[in-house]
């Protein structure tokens, strides 16, 4: 019998900053001056405070169901800051921090989660896709956009974001596979926060790593410590640059943790061990960078307090703007249905117009 190994693969894991805030080996150029990391730190603080405000708004009946990203800040900030402005994000419902980093306003996000589509009509020239709720369906959109970038010779990259749960869906797989076929400028982010509502990572797939899903598509896949913003940023920059210069797609699994309930409509206490949460808090991405920055003497407890107050004020102001945003008139549900409302539906629209502003 002939038995030959015809293909071999390794999945690598990347980390710069360990959970104790210690640096492992050489830092990449952008992170060499510790002070240069403060903007990333700020983004993570913004994300966490935004999340906590949103949860409060929901709990007090002032907003709809909301999905907090607490614990995942390094993953969302790292990947979005690594992107160029012309790149394009295809997020889920949990990458608030990525939207904010890309120019979407807090008020817009509140407005959306407050039940008004207007929040996805980004005013700041951000061309990113809207929040995607049907899991993994945005992956093929990103593949289409990436195809368009390539066709037009634009140096742009499409970045669809998925959860660990999303990797079980056909659309995820069809998308990565097609990106491989055409060698498209796509970087697939799998934010593995260990849970898909009540289902732990182990029940989504028998694979050892989510990164190895890439092997099925014949594209590079790797794992990064998703609570280490330096590693996330660095690996995404490298993958984005490769994609932008014709090197094709990459899949990056960012290992992090969902510290909150799945959404405000969920109670993780029903299925999740409290102990696990406590263990994971020791890996907190914000604490980790904070420790390092203080250790490097480019940051202080006092500055931290000040930052928190400043951002809290900013978030509160945005929340106020949101709460003062006028409701849309009922008839506006016909506004953007088609470019021009077909005659067949005009009388229906008319009935709502008759209601006026309600």
């Amino acid at each position: 019998m002939t038995k030959v190994a015809v293909a071999s693969f390794d999945i690598e894991f990347y980390q710069y900053l360990n959970p104790r805030g210690e640096i492992l080996g050489d830092l990449p150029e952008f992170a060499k001056r510790a002070a240069d990391l403060i903007p990333l730190y700020r983004d993570m603080i913004v994300t966490r405070i935004f999340d906590s405000k949103a949860v409060t708004l929901q709990r007090t009946g002032q907003m709809g169901t909301y999905a907090s990203s607490a614990g995942q800040e390094a993953s969302v900030v790292g990947l979005s800051r690594a992107m160029h402005k012309e790149d394009m994000l295809f997020p889920t419902y949990r990458e608030h921090g990525a939207y904010l980093a890309r120019g979407v306003t807090m008020t817009e996000l509140f407005v959306y989660w407050g039940g008004n589509e207007e929040g996805m009509n980004f005013a700041n020239a951000c061309g990113d896709f809207p929040v995607c709720i049907p899991i993994a369906t945005q992956v093929p959109h990103a593949v289409g956009a990436a195809y368009a970038f390539k066709l037009r010779g634009q140096p742009r990259v499409a970045v669809p974001v998925c959860g660990d749960g999303a990797t079980s869906k056909g659309d995820f797989y069809e998308g990565i596979n097609a990106a491989g076929v055409w060698n498209l400028p796509c970087v697939f982010a799998v934010i593995n926060n260990q849970w898909a509502i009540s289902q732990p990572r182990s029940r989504q797939s028998a694979c050892q790593t989510m990164a190895q899903k890439a092997i099925a598509a014949g594209i590079p896949g790797e794992q990064v410590d998703g609570n280490d913003v330096i590693a996330v940023y660095d690996r995404f920059v490298k993958a984005l640059n490769r994609a932008r210069s014709g090197g094709g797609p990459t899949l990056i699994e960012s290992i992090t943790y969902r510290m909150s309930d799945h959404t405000t409509a969920d109670d993780a206490g029903r299925y999740r061990n409290e102990q696990e949460l406590i263990q994971q808090k020791a890996l907190d991405p914000i604490d980790r960078l904070n420790t390092y920055l203080i250790e490097q003497s480019v940051w202080s407890e006092q500055q931290n307090q000040q930052l928190i107050e400043e951002v809290t004020a900013e978030v509160d102001a945005a929340a106020n703007d949101y709460l003062n945003t006028p409701r849309r008139a009922p008839h506006t549900i016909f506004d953007c249905l088609y470019e021009t409302l077909p005659k067949a539906y005009q009388s229906q629209a008319g009935r709502l117009t008759a209601l006026g502003d309600v």
Binding site: N116, R203, I333, A344, Q348
Partner: protein, 326 residues
């Protein structure tokens, strides 16, 4: 007898049949330890084990497809799709396989499965969580599409659906999940499929609806009674196959009909009912057949949701108009 919500009635029916029939097995996303996002399967995994209350990976086409495989093996799988907004990847499996496995094998393999999904608006849910697209399923030959409107009907119809030897899409109006309670005897007694239920007798006009809209419709009937209009109200319950006779018989007596559904108007299931009246009841009609429905728009996010959905007021207005013909 216990006072149960629709949600509890679903849970009881599932539990009853799982205890009675070893072949009944549940599968879906988050239905096990979490008991389903609405708690429809609460406690069932504890009671019947992980093998029979199966948390699946996040993959709806898989869920539908493996349900077919389970059913073909003689099990009686009841799959849950978490929200109707996520049911669309199952249509391929339902239309191309579940609904025709018996036909394709000339009876050699059958497909006794139930696909449950909460549907409809009115609970201020996020995007994609509030639609009603039952009409799309009603068009698929070989299927049954069943929609309970009350706890008692949920209990009895779900039992019937599980026991039915053919595939059933079972759509639960999530707005009614906790809206009211009814006394239900957990005796395992099923209600008949394939028939409409006349939930209010009347002589002036026939109102036809299903699911959550039955409640607006009954409210409208109460209101109209005060105005001297005596409404008969029919809960279609099984929209496919349609018990058109009950509707025709009623309209023969009343001469008037208004159909109410939450789904978008165009090609909604109301059209099928109206078409039957236009074909088989025309000579009895004193007035146009009204349809009070959702608009032909995308279901808006929750701030405007209530303007999308038919209201008691809308129903009353249409009924009054219909009564003006003589």
């Amino acid at each position: 007898m216990a006072e149960l919500t629709l949600l509890e009635a679903v849970n009881k029916a599932l539990a009853y049949e799982m205890a009675a029939d070893q072949d009944v097995i549940l599968l879906g996303e988050d239905i096990g330890v979490n008991g389903g996002v609405f708690r429809a399967t609460d406690g069932l995994q504890d009671r019947f084990g992980e093998d029979r209350v199966v948390d699946t990976p996040l993959a709806e086409s898989l869920i539908a497809g493996m349900t077919i495989g389970l059913a073909a093996q003689g099990l009686k799988p009841v799959a849950e799709i978490q929200f109707m907004g996520f049911i669309y990847p199952t249509i391929d499996q339902i239309l191309n396989h579940a609904a025709r496995l018996r036909t394709r094998t000339r009876g050699r393999i059958s497909c006794p499965m139930v696909l449950r999904a909460p549907f409809g608006g009115g609970i201020h849910a996020p995007e994609h969580h509030s639609e009603s697209t039952e009409a799309m399923f009603a068009h698929i030959p070989g299927l049954r599409v069943v929609i309970p409107s009350s706890p008692a009907r949920a209990y009895g119809l779900l039992l019937a659906a599980i026991r039915d030897p053919d595939p059933v899409i079972f759509l639960e109006p999530k707005r009614v999940y906790r809206m009211l309670k009814q006394d239900i005897d957990d005796s395992g007694e099923a209600l008949p499929l394939d028939v409409c239920f006349t939930v209010r007798q009347g002589t002036d006009i026939t109102l036809v609806s299903w699911g959550a809209m039955i409640h607006e419709t009954l409210q409208a009937a109460d209101q109209l009674e005060a105005e001297g209009i005596d409404c008969e109200v029919i809960d279609v319950a099984t929209i496919k196959p349609l018990d058109v006779e009950t509707i025709l018989e009623s309209v023969q007596r009343t001469g008037r009909c208004v159909i109410i559904h939450e789904a978008a108007r165009t090609a909604g299931f109301g059209a099928e009912i109206a078409a039957n009246l236009a074909e088989f009841g025309l000579m009895n009609l004193f007035a146009p057949v009204g349809r009070v429905t959702g608009f032909d728009t995308v279901m808006p996010l929750h701030l405007l949701e209530k303007f999308y959905m038919p209201s008691t007021e809308n129903i009353c207005a249409t009924v009054r108009q219909t009564m003006e013909y003589s």
